[in-house]
C-alpha cells in the first residue's frame, strides 16, 4: 500500500491558552488517498472548518495548532516555514469557502483575483495568466469568460461567485481540494449544480477532495469515505457503505435519523436531543454521552478507537459488534 496523500494525526487546534482555551479540534486523525473523496460531516461547531484551515496553515492568533502532524505527501505541514506553506497553498492544496459572498474581494475584478493566483506560483507572462484564468472560468461553466474577467464580484450571483471560487481553486490543478460547505449558503437548485460540477472536475483531474458538510445526505451521494466529527473529534470513519449502512456510533445513527431520506417513511424525523456542547463545557470521557441513548457510567471514561477492516469508531457501546 502506498502512503496516503494526506495523513492527519492527532491534530489539536485551540484558541487561547490555559483552562479557558477553546479546543476546537481535539485529537483528529484521518487520511485521504490520491483521487479520493472524503466527506467530513458533523453538526455546526464540531470543528470541521478549523480542521480544514489547520491543514492549510490558516489558523491565526489567538488560535494555534497545539499538537499533532499533518503529513502531506510525506512532509509535515505543522510547523513548516511560512514560505513553504505559502507555496503549497493554492498550488498543491486549494480551498473553497462556505460563503461565496464573502470570499472574493469586492474592490478587485475577478480577473485581478484570478491572475494574481496564477502569478503567486508560476512565473508566467501576464497574458498567459489571463488566458489561464479565462479557461478556468470556462471550465466551471461561466458564460463569456473574457468579459467576466473584467467584472467585479457584486456583478455575479452567489452561485456564480462560488463557481469563480472553484475556478480559482482549480487554477493550479491541486492534488487536494478542501471544500468547506461550499453549497450551504446557496439555493437548493444551485447546490446540486455546484455539487455536480465539483465532482465532475475532481474526477476529471484526479484530485482528492475533502468535502466538509453538516449534511450526511449530501456526503452520501458524493464521497468514497466518510469521517463523522463531534465536539472536535472524529467519532466514526469508514467507507460510505460501512458508515451509512452499518453505523457504529450512536451519533452517526442520530445524524441519519434526522435525515428525511433515510428515516423510515411515515415516521417523524427524530432530531438528536439537546445541543452540541460548547468547546468550553464538554463533558469528560465521551463528549456525546449527555445526548446519547446508549450512554452508561462507562462513558465517563475516554472511549478508545476500535478498528475493523477500515471501519473505525470511538465508542463504549457501538450499535453493532464488528462483523467477525
Amino acid at each position: 500500500m502506498t502512503a496516503p496523500l494526506l495523513d492527519v494525526r492527532d491534530l489539536r487546534t485551540q484558541f487561547g491558552t490555559g483552562v479557558r482555551a477553546v479546543k476546537a479540534v481535539d485529537g483528529v486523525s484521518f487520511t485521504v488517498d490520491r483521487g479520493e473523496i472524503l466527506g467530513l460531516v458533523g453538526e455546526s461547531g464540531s470543528g470541521k472548518s478549523i480542521t480544514g484551515f489547520s491543514i492549510l496553515g490558516l489558523i491565526e492568533p489567538p488560535g494555534r495548532i497545539e499538537g499533532g502532524r499533518i503529513l502531506f505527501m510525506g512532509e509535515d505541514l505543522v510547523g513548516a516555514p511560512r514560505e513553504a506553506l505559502r507555496r503549497i497553498r493554492g498550488k498543491r492544496i486549494a480551498m473553497i469557502f462556505q460563503d461565496p459572498m464573502m470570499t472574493l474581494n469586492p474592490v478587485l475584478t475577478i480577473g485581478t483575483q484570478m491572475v494574481e493566483a496564477v502569478l503567486a506560483h508560476d512565473a508566467v507572462p501576464r497574458r498567459t495568466a489571463v488566458e489561464r484564468a479565462r479557461d478556468a472560468l470556462g471550465l466551471v461553466g461561466i458564460p463569456s469568460p473574457d468579459e467576466r474577467l473584467k467584472a467585479y464580484p457584486h456583478q455575479f450571483s452567489g452561485g456564480m461567485r462560488q463557481r469563480v471560487a472553484i475556478a480559482i481553486a482549480l487554477l493550479h490543478r491541486p492534488d487536494l481540494v478542501i471544500a468547506d460547505e461550499p453549497t450551504t449558503a446557496l439555493d437548493v437548485t444551485i447546490q446540486s449544480q455546484i455539487l455536480y460540477e465539483v465532482r465532475r472536475l475532481a474526477d476529471a483531474f484526479g484530485m482528492a477532495l475533502v468535502w466538509i458538510s453538516h449534511d450526511l445526505g449530501v456526503v452520501a451521494g458524493l464521497a468514497d469515505r466518510v469521517a463523522v466529527m463531534y465536539a472536535g473529534r472524529i467519532v466514526e470513519t469508514g467507507t460510505v457503505d460501512d458508515v451509512l449502512d452499518r453505523p457504529a456510533h450512536p451519533y452517526t445513527r442520530g445524524l441519519m435519523d434526522a435525515l428525511p431520506a433515510t428515516a423510515v417513511p411515515g415516521d417523524r424525523l427524530r432530531p438528536i436531543p439537546g445541543m452540541a456542547p460548547l468547546p468550553t463545557s464538554r463533558p469528560d470521557g465521551c463528549p456525546f454521552r449527555t445526548r446519547c441513548f446508549a450512554a452508561t457510567d462507562a462513558c465517563r471514561a475516554e472511549p478508545v478507537v476500535t478498528v475493523a477492516a477500515g471501519h473505525e469508531w470511538r465508542c463504549h457501546h457501538p450499535i453493532r459488534e464488528p462483523a467477525a
Binding site: F53, L56, L58, E60, R86, R87, I88, R89, G90, K91, A94, M95, F97, D99, M102, T103, L104, N105, P106, V107, L108, T109, Q113, E116, A117, A120, H121, Y152, H154, Q155, A165, I168
Partner: protein, 323 residues
C-alpha cells in the same frame, strides 16, 4: 453619471448662493469700516463722501443686490486697505496656502499610511502602543501650541530651521513653488509639519482601524488560501479596501486644511490667504473677508465633488449602482 454630475452642480450653486447671503450678513455685523478708514479728524462732509464712494451709505438690501450682481461679474469688491480687487488679493495669496496645505497632506499620507499599517498589523504590541500614543498627542494638543513647540525646538534651541515667512520660490513644471530650492523647502518644513500633525494623527487612526477591520475578513483568508504573499495581501487587498473610506475623509479634510491654515499661517507668518484673512478682519477690510469666505466655500464644494467622483472610481459597487 451625467445626471449625477448635473444634480451635484445644482446643489453646489444653491449652497454657494446661501453662503453668499450668510457671509454678507455676517460680515455686515462685524463693525463699521468707516471707523477704521476715515481719519478721526475728518469733517462729516468728507466722511459722507468716502462712505458714498465705497457704497456704504446705501440700505442693506440694496448693498446685497449690488454685491450679488457684482460677484456674478467676477467683482468681489475692492479692498479698502490695499485698494485692489479683493479677489485678486486672495488669488495672489492662494498659491502659498495651497502649497502649504498640499505639502501638509503629503506629509500626513506619506507618514500616516505606513505608521497606521504597522500599528494595525501588530495590534497591542509596543510598536502599536507607541504609534497610537503619538497620534493621541497629535489629536489632543492644540495646534497653535504644537506650532510654538516646533518653533521653540527646531528654530530657537536647535536653530536648524527658519520659523517665519516663505522662502525663495522657483518653478517646477510651470508652477511657482518653494519646493524648487533647499532654502524654500527649509522654510516650508515647520509650518507644513505643524499643519500636518492633526491630519497625520487622523490618517494613522483611519488606516489602523481599516486594517484591523479588513484583516479578519473572509476574502483576506481566501487570498491567503490562494498562496498570495502577505505583502500583496496587505498592499493590494487590504490597502485598496481601506482607500475608499480614507479618500473620502482625506478629501473632506483637505478643505479643513486650508481653513486650519489660518492658525499655522499666523504663527509662522506664512503669506497665504489665512494670514490675509486675519489681517483683513483686524482692519475690517470687508470685501477681502467676503472674497475669502466665498473662495474657501467654493473650494470646499469643489473638493466634495471631486471626492464623490473619486470615490465612485475606487468603489466599483457605487459606480455601477448609479450608472
Amino acid at each position: 453619471m451625467a445626471v449625477f454630475v448635473i444634480r451635484r452642480l445644482m446643489q453646489s450653486l444653491i449652497v454657494l448662493a446661501a453662503t453668499a447671503a450668510l457671509v454678507f450678513l455676517g460680515v455686515f455685523a462685524i463693525g463699521d469700516p468707516g471707523e477704521m478708514l476715515i481719519p478721526p479728524d475728518a469733517t462729516p462732509a468728507e466722511r459722507a463722501q468716502v462712505m458714498a464712494a465705497l457704497g456704504l451709505d446705501r440700505p442693506l438690501p440694496v448693498q446685497f443686490v449690488t454685491f450679488l450682481a457684482n460677484i456674478l461679474q467676477g467683482d468681489f469688491g475692492r479692498s479698502f486697505v490695499f485698494d485692489q480687487p479683493s479677489i485678486a488679493l486672495i488669488l495672489g495669496r492662494l498659491p502659498a496656502t495651497l502649497e502649504l496645505a498640499f505639502v501638509a497632506l503629503a506629509i500626513a499620507l506619506v507618514l500616516g499610511l505606513p505608521l497606521g499599517l504597522l500599528a494595525g498589523l501588530r495590534p497591542r504590541t509596543a510598536t502599536d502602543e507607541a504609534i497610537m500614543t503619538g497620534s493621541i498627542l497629535g489629536f489632543s494638543l492644540p495646534n497653535f501650541w504644537q506650532g510654538m513647540m516646533l518653533i521653540m525646538i527646531f528654530a530657537v534651541w536647535l536653530g536648524w530651521l527658519p520659523s517665519t515667512g516663505r522662502g525663495p520660490r522657483g518653478t517646477i513644471l510651470g508652477i511657482e513653488t518653494s519646493l524648487a530650492s533647499w532654502e524654500g523647502i527649509r522654510h516650508l518644513i515647520l509650518p507644513a509639519t505643524n499643519l500636518a500633525l492633526f491630519k497625520l494623527a487622523l490618517v494613522i487612526r483611519l488606516t489602523r482601524t481599516g486594517v484591523r477591520e479588513t484583516m479578519p475578513l473572509d476574502f483576506v483568508k481566501f487570498a491567503r488560501a490562494k498562496g498570495l504573499t502577505e505583502r500583496r495581501i496587505v498592499l493590494v487587498h487590504v490597502m485598496k479596501t481601506i482607500m475608499i473610506p480614507l479618500v473620502t475623509v482625506i478629501g473632506m479634510e483637505l478643505g479643513s486644511l486650508i481653513a486650519f491654515a489660518v492658525v499655522t499661517e499666523t504663527i509662522f507668518a506664512w503669506p497665504g490667504i489665512g494670514k490675509l484673512l486675519i489681517d483683513s478682519i483686524m482692519r475690517l477690510d470687508r470685501p477681502v473677508v467676503v472674497a475669502y469666505l466665498l473662495v474657501v466655500v467654493a473650494m470646499f464644494i469643489t473638493l466634495n465633488f471631486l471626492v464623490d467622483v473619486l470615490y465612485s472610481i475606487l468603489d466599483p459597487r457605487i459606480r455601477l449602482g448609479r450608472a
